[in-house]
């Protein structure tokens, strides 16, 4: 087995919004030889197939669509001087900061001064959600649907049911309609929100998917409604949307500690993971945030990486874990540190498992209250809400994990 051995200063895994922004920032800062590896043939990550506007709004008034944003992000990284290689897959680790890769040019072993993981997130497919029934063709995630329609122009079906009502479900509806597919219903197990804005959607609330039917092709989606009724929606296509999960294979195969809530690497405000010199950014950390948030993290990690390269970084391990009580699902970052560092935007991101009406968030450590904060809006599953980080300097660096509770 022959592998080409190479060394770079910074290796970035994943050329989505976070990885490309990190590459651009580090190259511009003169961090040395920066290489971004992307396993897809084209850079840009998920925005490549998001044909809706709203990307990059900070820089372009009104925003642009996903593919334009993807092209622009990739061009910016290359222009800044980062090396970008597509069609190259990182297949595993061969050392603390050494990875093995496969590409059409052969096998490589690349060692870096710092590694930035930006491997993103994906939607849980039907199987992972344990939806029973038969296994006919016609079952998709939004990611697959968007690629099929926007990148390959494939035929989808005629009648579709969309599962989920997070923003990505709306993107799925738009894609289906663009492909000429009739959307029968958008199904969510959540109760009807009291003040839901009327949408142009056939929304079915309070309904759980109990099974799929059909043999050579999907023929229906069976539902159980909150009042006990069961129905079957006739359709030939179903799209499971949302329920994003970090693509953490590489992190986990590297023995990097994961946060049990996010299922991404445990990380601190400097984007450091449990492995020295290995950083993580973007939706690998907290599925799933907008492309702009991921890109901001990519830019922010540059400072930490530069410290690492120049030997001025603080040792890892001084931070305290942050834990949440149900119904909160997770908090990110999920470690304090380094020193008095504050997370991006001076705030933590949180998610909840069920709707909370204007919750009171209480931060405590060893029974000592550090902070309390009333949210002005309801917290809704599948959408981020935030906790100010001003209390971080009151954390006892030798104390127990910091606990966040919603009252």
């Amino acid at each position: 087995m022959t592998r080409i051995e190479r060394t770079v200063d910074v290796l970035i895994v994943g050329a989505g919004p976070a990885g490309l922004a990190a590459g651009a920032e580090l190259a511009a800062a003169g961090a040395g030889r920066i290489e971004i590896l992307e396993r897809e043939q084209e850079p840009g990550g998920i925005p490549r197939h998001c044909h809706h506007s709203g990307f990059g709004g900070r820089f372009t008034r009104g925003g642009m669509d996903g593919p334009a944003y993807a092209r622009r992000s990739a061009a910016a990284a290359v222009r800044a001087g980062a090396g970008l290689r597509t069609g190259v897959t990182v297949t595993g680790w061969a050392g603390p900061r050494t990875v093995e890769t496969t590409g059409p040019g052969g096998l490589e072993r690349i060692t870096a001064g710092a590694v930035v993981l930006a491997t993103g997130a994906r939607e849980r497919p039907r199987s992972a959600r344990l939806v029973p029934g038969s296994r006919p063709p016609g079952v998709h995630t939004t990611g697959e649907l968007q690629q099929a329609v926007h990148l390959y122009g494939q035929r989808i079906g005629t009648r579709a049911v969309v599962i989920g009502d997070e923003p990505v479900a709306h993107a799925a509806v738009d894609t289906l309609r663009a492909a000429g597919v009739h959307v029968v219903a958008v199904v969510t197990d959540r109760p009807a929100a009291p003040l839901r804005v009327r949408q142009r959607l056939p929304l079915l609330t309070g309904a759980t998917v109990t099974g799929l039917t059909g043999r050579t092709r999907l023929s229906g989606v069976s539902l159980r409604h909150d009042d006990g009724r069961t129905t079957t929606l006739r359709c030939d296509t179903v799209v499971f949307t949302g329920d994003f999960v970090p693509d953490h294979e590489l992190a986990r195969r590297g023995g990097i500690t994961l946060d049990p809530g996010t299922r991404g690497p445990a990380y601190d405000a400097a984007y450091r993971t449990s492995r020295p010199g290995v950083f993580a950014v973007g939706n690998l950390l907290h599925a799933v945030e907008r492309a702009g948030v991921a890109a901001d993290e990519g830019r922010a990690v540059a400072v930490s990486v530069l410290h690492r390269l120049s030997g001025t970084d603080e040792p890892f391990g001084g931070g305290r874990p942050l834990v949440v009580d149900a119904p909160l699902r997770w908090v990110a970052p999920n470690l304090t540190g380094p020193g008095g560092a504050r997370p991006l935007g001076d705030r933590f991101v949180l998610r909840t498992a069920r709707r909370l009406s204007r919750p009171l968030l209480v931060v405590s450590q060893d029974g000592r209250e550090l902070h309390r904060q009333r949210l002005l809006l309801p917290a809704v599953p599948g959408r981020p809400f935030h906790l100010a980080a001003g209390w971080l300097d009151r954390v006892d660096p030798h104390g127990s994990p910091v606990r966040i509770t919603a009252l």
């Binding site: 087995m1 022959t2 592998r3 396993r39 897809e40 069609g87 897959t89 297949t91 496969t102 590409g103 059409p104 040019g105 052969g106 096998l107 994906r122 939607e123 849980r124 497919p125 039907r126 199987s127 992972a128 344990l130 029973p132 029934g133 038969s134 296994r135 063709p137 998709h140 995630t141 990611g143 697959e144 690629q147 099929a148 990148l151 390959y152 494939q154 109990t210 099974g211 799929l212 039917t213 043999r215 999960v245 294979e249 986990r252 195969r253």
Partner: protein, 472 residues
Amino acid sequence: MTVTITTAGEPAAGGADGTYDVTVVGAGVVGTAIARELAGYRLRTALVDASDDIGSGTSKANTAILHTGFDAVPDSLEARLVREGHHRLTAYAARTGIPVERVGALLVAWDADQLALLPRLLAKAGRNGYHAARIIGADELEKREPHLGPGALGALEVPDESIICPWTTPLAFATQAVRAGVHLHLNCRVLDVADEPGVHALTTSRGMLRTRYLVNAAGLYADEIDRLLGHEVFTVTPRRGQLIVFDKLARELVGHILLPVPTAAGKGVLVAPTVFGNVLLGPTSEELDDRTATGSTADGLHLLRERGRRILPALIDEEVTAVYAGLRAATGQEDYRIQEYPTQRYVAVGGIRSTGLTASMAIAAHVTGLLARTGLELGAPRRLPPVTVPNLGEAFPRPYRRADLIAKDPAYGTLVCHCEHVTLGEIRDALSSTVPPRSLDGLRRRTRAHGGRCQGFYCGAAVRALFEEAQE
């Protein structure tokens, strides 16, 4: 020899008089094995199947274990054919590249009653001619399987139980048979069998097919074919087995095939690694009357998760890659129902349940012997063309790790399916192979593409594009 696979039109014979010497009904693992065995003689052989692919019924959805037969009913036909089949298939897999991993099995006792049964099971293994089993205590068990749930008291160790690829096994058989001249007719459902002098006239969904000898290896439909020949010997009662496939990241949780101590209710729920590097939990055991009910159910999945949580608690927190269900062709008798009818030039191969994959090659040899006793003149055996199948096994070097292959053809360095590390080269090879896939599902069974944890989120559209391009 020219390769003949048809999917439409009259399933005409290749011979001058339009009649096959032998026709095998059912291209599952047993039917393809029989066709391959017959290909070793100068016979005009046809292999017909109602579906559009080989191995697409019971054969595609099982526990993928290469059994030693240690727990078979002693002196049964099944016991003999499983034991013999284990040796034959192990050797064949080594020649053709079908991935096999000898991980060994541990039959775990979870209470005193089960522990007390182990010596009896050890003795039974001995009566089945298997002498390498031994009983281990709780301490050694914990050392071997540190993630096992609390309460395990000991185990019967069966070091030769192995895991095997359930998809490339029938593929190897079919490929070798077809290359040796066997005609494979797909989408060809047998509707009726008429008796003409010296010939069976099969009415199929694609027209008439004539054959002098007939082998019924129709799996779940074997009783229906048997009835077409006038026999009322057995009825197939589909026994559904639902299974959950866990993510590859769970593979390190388990080293052996973890079997429960069998009860009157059946062999029970097992946890086993797969050759693809996943972990399997299942199967359920549900008697049904619908031979098409290959769906999973909420109750079935709940039961499996409950059982799995006790056996390997950490497993249940891992991501699920796939859920599937298969139907075993149970006939109410604890043995194979292989029966020859000399006056009819007919052999029925019924009741081949979960051990069919292991026993397939021995069943094929046995059936060929019965055909000879029924009057078929086999003639001198001949050498079959050698066959190698694509390696889908994680324990063996797959193309994406092979610098030599990639240097010759960069397509083997171009990954299309990221979760399963399937390359463009492998997909192209499968699409242009001797027995090509006729659906995305068939392509998945030949390459693993689209079968990983994302179930197509990343690669679904790309794999479909390659498949559709090849159909044009």
